[in-house]
């Protein structure tokens, strides 16, 4: 794929939208999971009495929040995948196909030129 095919798409309105959507999504997810993870770590380090409170039977708050970390990881992964499928994949597929098409056209032009050149050389002889 030629470089300018790709760089040309960079200013495309749809690409800008794709990029903005991805960045917003990525920042939200990174903020959410890192914030929640470090909150949990801080609680384990500094809020020992709170973490030791019993929650359900012998399960205390610390273990319960720990298991919630697992749940939140699964939920975030699922949300990301769903959003990507709905809002990112169609856009990127469209742009990718267009880049492929442009490349194919360029390739065809090049082939036609080469052919014309060959014929000219041949008729001149």
């Amino acid at each position: 794929m030629q470089a300018d095919d790709l760089a040309g798409l960079a200013t495309d309105e749809r690409f800008r939208l794709l990029k903005a959507r991805f960045r917003r999504l990525a920042l939200t997810i990174v903020g959410a999971f890192l914030g929640w993870y470090f909150l949990y770590i801080a609680l384990s380090a500094f809020a020992r009495d709170f973490m030791a409170l019993p929650a359900i039977g012998n399960v205390n708050v610390a273990l319960l929040l720990g298991v919630l970390q697992f749940v939140s990881t699964f939920v975030l992964a699922w949300r990301y995948t769903r959003y990507a499928r709905r809002k990112l994949d169609p856009l990127s597929a469209e742009l990718r196909d267009e880049a492929g098409q442009r490349q194919a056209e360029r390739e065809r032009e090049r082939r036609i030129l080469a052919e014309r050149h060959r014929i000219e050389n041949w008729t001149r002889r």
Partner: protein, 548 residues
């Protein structure tokens, strides 16, 4: 019996490797398994690459002895995958075989960048490798039940340790140099299935002993933990109240390295390229999240179950660091279901799974570093990016041999040291040396090659130097060097909290201070390619209207 089951595993994987060899032709096959693995297959392999014996035996042991604090490892190891999920598609689209492909995309053919990436990949892998191989050596004497001073079929424990390291080393070299990515991936898949089956069986058996009542199991564990009433609370092992603020910072430092290291581990990154496109790469990470999550949840049952059913005293009697807890649990549970024979059978099975686990992880690491040496260093630095494919593959096979021998040598040398810290160090190095360079390459328009080189070396050297000057090496209660030697200046055992920001700082400073101009055109190109997948390797370009 363990040996018998393990032999079956070896025979099957050898068969697969030979088959893979027949089907491996060029670099795409050797480095990326022909990019033909499905998302689910690669997800299993990712999980296989990731779940090391350190997490299987190590975490179960820490939970069994220190209760809740061991579970923190499990959480960090899982949560880290979200970051991987966000980066995987971009890296799959931008790269070809290695991290260096992503880093050097914008800066063109700069040997410095390739060299830095190869140095970092090999260093991280070798540290991790040595930890795993020493672990394998320690495991065998425990499995065979040889205590120091005794012999087993005329073999002393020391000899058994060395023999195990040699055998594991030979096997991993064979898998990698002979089977390449195809062979190694199948080894990972088989191992992941075995490990999940083993842990699930064990978990179900353990829980059934408590009528599937989690609370009851925790209560029983608490009672036999040697410190009833505290066992389930934070602070039994990490950030003890007695250690004050330094202990808490050290704990935070470990947590940071765990969560940021995964996305920069070379054997994980190499796996992003084995699937046909970015979507399959996303699917594979989702599979890995599911599997790794289920596995680490089960470590709860293994660890607490071991304390409840085996008891803290019996575990420390066998191994003071608790690495045998899962094995002892298998024996106890098996015995309670089907008598002594059942105990032996389950122990043998779990032991064989542990060996398979070690073997698969070390193979993944050797593959990652030989790929980097052959593709980045030989192909792009020595041959200026124009090697013959057959030549490059031959170099990769040979590098696997060299790195394997080197790792075996190191592992035999340090086999008696307590090298558990090396795993955490490998994560810290991956988080400091690789992650800043990857993130800035993908998202910072001004980033340039000087920045990449400064960031990678800054993170790598920063974390190594900090550990060398920490209580891990000298001046602490569990230091590598004996007590009179004390040159520790840095108070934390885990460098991540300082070395990761330091690496970012180096990368930014290197970029801004160098006179080299970044190329905005190449950056736009990279971002289009990373986000859309246009022009990505292995993407069949649709030939719309371009028919001959």
């Amino acid at each position: 019996m363990t040996i018998g089951l393990f032999a079956v595993f070896i025979v099957i994987t050898l068969g697969v490797t030979v088959w893979a060899r027949v089907n491996t032709r060029g670099t795409d096959d050797f480095y990326a398994g022909g990019r033909a693995f499905s998302g689910a297959q690669n997800g299993l392999a990712l999980a296989g690459d990731y779940m090391s014996a350190a997490s299987f035996l190590g975490i179960a042991g820490i939970i069994a002895l220190s209760g809740y604090d061991g579970f923190l490892y499990s959480i960090g190891f899982l949560v880290a995958w979200l970051l991987t999920l966000l980066l995987v598609e971009l890296m799959r689209n931008a790269g070809r075989f290695t991290m260096a492909d992503v880093l050097s995309y914008r800066v063109g053919r700069r040997p410095m960048v390739r060299t830095a990436a190869a140095v970092s990949t090999v260093t991280v892998s070798v540290f991790y490798l040595v930890a795993q191989m020493v672990g394998a050596g320690a495991l065998v004497s425990l499995l065979l039940g040889i205590h120091p001073g005794e012999t087993f079929m005329g073999i002393s424990p020391e000899a058994a340790q060395v023999i195990t390291i040699l055998v594991v080393g030979m096997m991993m070299i064979f898998y990698v140099s002979y089977g390449g990515m195809k062979g190694t991936t199948w080894v990972q898949i088989i191992k992941a299935v075995l490990l999940m089956a083993g842990t699930t069986a064990l978990t179900v058996l353990v829980l059934s002993r408590f009528g599937f009542n989690l609370s009851e199991m925790l209560g029983a564990a608490d009672a036999r933990s040697g410190r009833p009433g505290q066992f389930l609370n934070p602070g039994q092992r990490y950030a003890k109240d007695a250690d004050g603020i330094v202990g808490k910072l050290d704990f935070a430092s470990l947590a940071v390295a765990l969560v940021l290291g995964t996305a920069g581990l070379p054997h994980i990154v190499g796996r992003f390229f084995t699937v046909p496109d970015a979507r399959a790469a996303r699917t594979s990470v989702n599979w890995a999240i599911g599997l790794v999550g289920a596995f680490y949840l089960m470590t709860l049952a293994l660890g607490f179950g071991a304390t409840a059913l085996v008891g803290q005293e019996a575990i420390t009697a066998q191994d003071p660091s608790g690495n045998t807890a899962a094995l002892q649990l298998a024996q106890a549970v098996g015995a309670s279901v089907a008598g002594p024979v059942g105990g032996e059978i389950l122990l043998a099975f779990i032991g064989a799974v542990a060996f398979a686990t070690i073997l698969a992880v070390v193979s993944g690491l050797v593959l990652a570093s030989s790929t980097s040496l052959a593709h980045d260093f030989f192909g792009h630095v020595l041959m200026f990016g124009k090697p013959k494919e057959s030549q490059e593959v031959a170099v990769a096979r040979f590098s696997a041999f060299v790195i394997g021998v080197f790792a075996v040598f190191l592992a035999v040398l340090v086999r008696d040291m307590n090298v558990a810290f090396l795993v955490a160090l490998a994560f810290a190095m991956a988080a400091s040396a690789n992650l800043p360079a990857i993130v800035l390459s993908l998202f910072w328009r001004r980033f340039n090659s000087t920045g990449v080189v400064c960031g990678v070396y800054g993170g790598l050297l920063g974390s190594i130097v900090l550990v060398a000057l920490s209580p891990v090496v000298s001046g602490g209660p569990r230091s590598l060097l004996p007590s009179p030697v004390d040159f520790h200046v840095f108070p934390l055992e885990n460098p991540g909290l300082v070395s990761i920001p330091f690496a970012f700082l180096c990368a930014v400073a290197g970029t801004l201070l160098s006179r080299e101009k970044s190329d905005p055109g190449r950056y736009s190109e990279l971002s289009v390619r990373a986000l859309t997948g246009a022009g990505a390797h292995g993407q069949p370009t649709k030939n719309v209207g371009g028919a001959r």
